[in-house]
């Protein structure tokens, strides 16, 4: 039984982290993020960057799908918009990096509002299918609008520079990506402490009575689309600086499925869910690679089966979590937490 949660003031009760263990764990996490590039080699720093980019995109999708109840299978297309915007600005205009990222996010948000418009008429599965359709149409634009997008060959970028530092190696990129990721996840968490986030949840749970409470449903649905797309756009922009080439095939339908899978596996409708879902889904393929390398001496052609094994495990994780653990990894974390209750602060 937790007893120590009675608060002196409402301010303390409304804080983001209300219990002592939460605060300590968060401090540990932030410290870990700060020392990560000093303790790990370039490969792990590379992976950490990839995880953080996916965390941003998945958190955005979680706001849309997990909290507002609008399923999107076109999220990768908004990453693509952010990536192309950044690449185009770098190549043709030469604006500063942070401004490019912001522009990528905002343009994605604008297109997100347009893609969200069918949510006026359709919901559920139909909306998900509409977002698939929208992402195919955007793909067509990326291939055909050669003057801006470079067609099938795409756009290659020079290393970005921020405050006079060229971002060449993974550690430098990490110091760009990590703070942005922390900021954006904190922003998403904040949202659910005030009227905006509450309205999203209200629309998800029961949209008719949300209307009686004075929540304009369409406006909030579009706001959720815009916000989710903004997150995807920024993630895509970072992706462009990270891989330094953007092509129409950089963000396939599979990436959209990947992001939705991350939210499902992590746990829909909790900020933590989007974060650990993206972490888990990004790292599993790497773990499989280690597994297959270990099996190398035993199985001939072990290298050849890696890709199919990843595809199978990816699908099996989606199916397995939906059938057996629909609340996702967050629920498993909660169970562990209940088990250790207040550890190591038990007195």
């Amino acid at each position: 039984m937790i007893i120590g949660t009675a608060k002196e003031t409402y301010r303390a009760d409304e804080a983001l982290l209300t219990t002592r263990p939460q605060q300590v764990w968060m401090a540990v996490l932030l410290a870990g993020l700060a020392v990560l590039p000093f303790t790990f080699n370039a490969y792990w720093t590379y992976l950490a960057c990839l995880v953080l980019i996916n965390v941003i995109a998945a958190t955005g999708l979680n706001v849309l799908t997990g909290f507002t109840g609008l399923v999107s299978l076109g999220h990768a297309a908004f990453m693509a918009i952010g990536a192309y915007t950044v690449a185009w600005l770098e190549r043709d205009i030469g604006t500063p990096l942070l401004l490019n990222l912001l522009a990528g996010g905002l343009l994605a948000a604008g297109i997100g509002v347009i893609v969200g418009l069918p949510s006026l008429r359709v919901k559920g599965l139909y909306l998900a299918i509409a977002t698939i359709a929208a992402s195919f149409i955007l793909h067509f634009v990326f291939v055909e609008w050669t003057a801006v997008t470079g067609g099938s060959a795409g756009i290659s970028l020079q290393p970005g520079t921020v405050f006079g530092v060229a971002l060449v190696d993974y550690t430098q990129l990490y110091w760009l990506i990590m703070p942005i990721c922390v900021l954006m996840v904190t922003g998403a968490a904040n949202l659910f402490r005030n009227r905006i986030g509450r309205a999203f949840i209200a629309i998800r749970d029961r949209d008719i009575s949300a209307e009686v409470l004075g929540i304009p449903i369409l406006r909030y649905k579009l706001m959720s689309f815009a916000l989710a797309s903004f997150y995807a756009g920024v993630a895509g922009g970072l992706w462009a600086y990270f891989f330094r080439v953007v092509t129409p095939e950089s963000f396939p339908l599979l990436t959209s499925i990947f992001l939705l899978a991350a939210v499902i596996v992590g746990g829909m409708g909790t900020i933590l869910g989007g974060v650990i879902g993206a972490l888990f889904m990004t790292l599993v393929p790497e773990l499989l690679r280690f597994g297959v390398e270990l099996l190398g001496p035993v199985i001939p052609n072990a290298g050849l089966i890696l890709s199919p094994v990843r595809t199978i495990v990816f699908g099996a994780l989606i199916v397995g979590f939906l059938v057996f653990e629909p609340q996702g990894l967050t629920e498993i974390v909660q169970r562990i937490r209940r088990f250790f209750r207040l550890w190591p602060f038990r007195t």
Binding site: G187, R195, D205, L213, G214
Partner: protein
């Protein structure tokens, strides 16, 4: 405590048709500021359709709904909260996964100003607004409705009667000038019904809010209403003070198919003692 005075609601000659089916035919009545008005009638009389017209889910085919003299017939449902209109639903429409506190906070949505950007930062104005909201809800609503012991519980875990009370709390958080209650005591036991009656009267007296309710429990209607309007087959058949309506032969006929007021009285008493 009350900042806002109750509003007067006038329903003028409202007709509602779905295709050829006329659900409401030229209904007029008024709920005076700061009073309790009950809308009664047999099942299928059009009471809930009337409520849906007033709260903006249905647009009347003809006639007007006026709030303090202003025609609101064309105002969107979601914009009526800001005008001071709150309603509860016949089948409780709370957000079951959220806590009681979050449900109540949602009621204030239309009156809060935090925008998306401020919401993401949750600094300064947004944080202050939330804190002020929390303090006010605690002081005015949670204490008033005696629900402080459940404030952090998910709504789904609560008993039916408590859920109805939370729904009232959420409606009060909307700072209403008029409160529409759709069967506030349906399915409640006697004790819960008496609690709810007390709360409704307190809301009227202490907050000055106008109350319009649809209710089948005739005991409650006769006890707390100042004014009663009776619908049958989509038309208003009687209106007046409770005791006037009680003795109206048309009303008895609507309920029992005979014009005998005494029969209605017998039935009402039977219902009351059964409850």
């Amino acid at each position: 405590m009350p900042e806002a005075r109750g509003a007067t609601l006038e329903v003028d000659n409202v007709t509602l048709a779905f295709g050829g089916l006329k659900v409401l035919r030229g209904v007029s009545f008024a709920a005076q500021a700061g009073s309790v008005t009950a809308l009664i009638g047999p099942n299928g009389a059009g009471k809930t359709s009337m409520f849906n017209c007033i709260s903006g889910f249905y647009r009347p085919s003809a006639g007007t709904v006026r709030l303090d003299g202003q025609d609101i017939s064309r105002v969107k449902a979601s914009s009526r909260a800001a005008l001071g209109m709150a309603r509860s639903f016949q089948n409780i429409a709370l957000f079951r996964g959220m806590t009681v506190l979050d449900n109540i906070k949602l009621g204030r949505h239309a009156h809060l100003r935090t925008n998306l950007l401020q919401g993401l930062l949750h600094l300064g104005p947004a944080a202050r607004e939330e804190e002020a909201l929390r303090a006010e809800i605690e002081r005015k609503i949670i204490d008033f409705l005696e629900i402080d012991h459940i404030r952090n519980k998910p709504v789904a875990m609560l008993s039916y009667g408590l859920q109805k009370r939370v729904e009232l709390a959420r409606a009060l958080a909307m700072q209403p000038r008029i409160l529409l209650l759709d069967e506030p005591v349906a399915g409640m036991n006697r004790e819960e019904t008496e609690d709810m009656a007390r709360f409704i009267l307190d809301v009227k007296d202490e907050w000055g809010v106008t109350i319009l309710m649809v209710e089948h429990d005739m005991g409650l209607v006769m006890d707390i209403s100042d004014h009663v309007a009776v619908l049958n087959f989509g038309a208003k058949i009687a209106e007046g003070r409770p005791e006037e309506v009680q003795n109206d032969p048309h009303v008895a006929e609507a309920y029992l198919g005979s014009g005998d007021p005494a029969a209605l009285m017998r039935r009402l008493h039977a219902e009351e003692s059964a409850a």
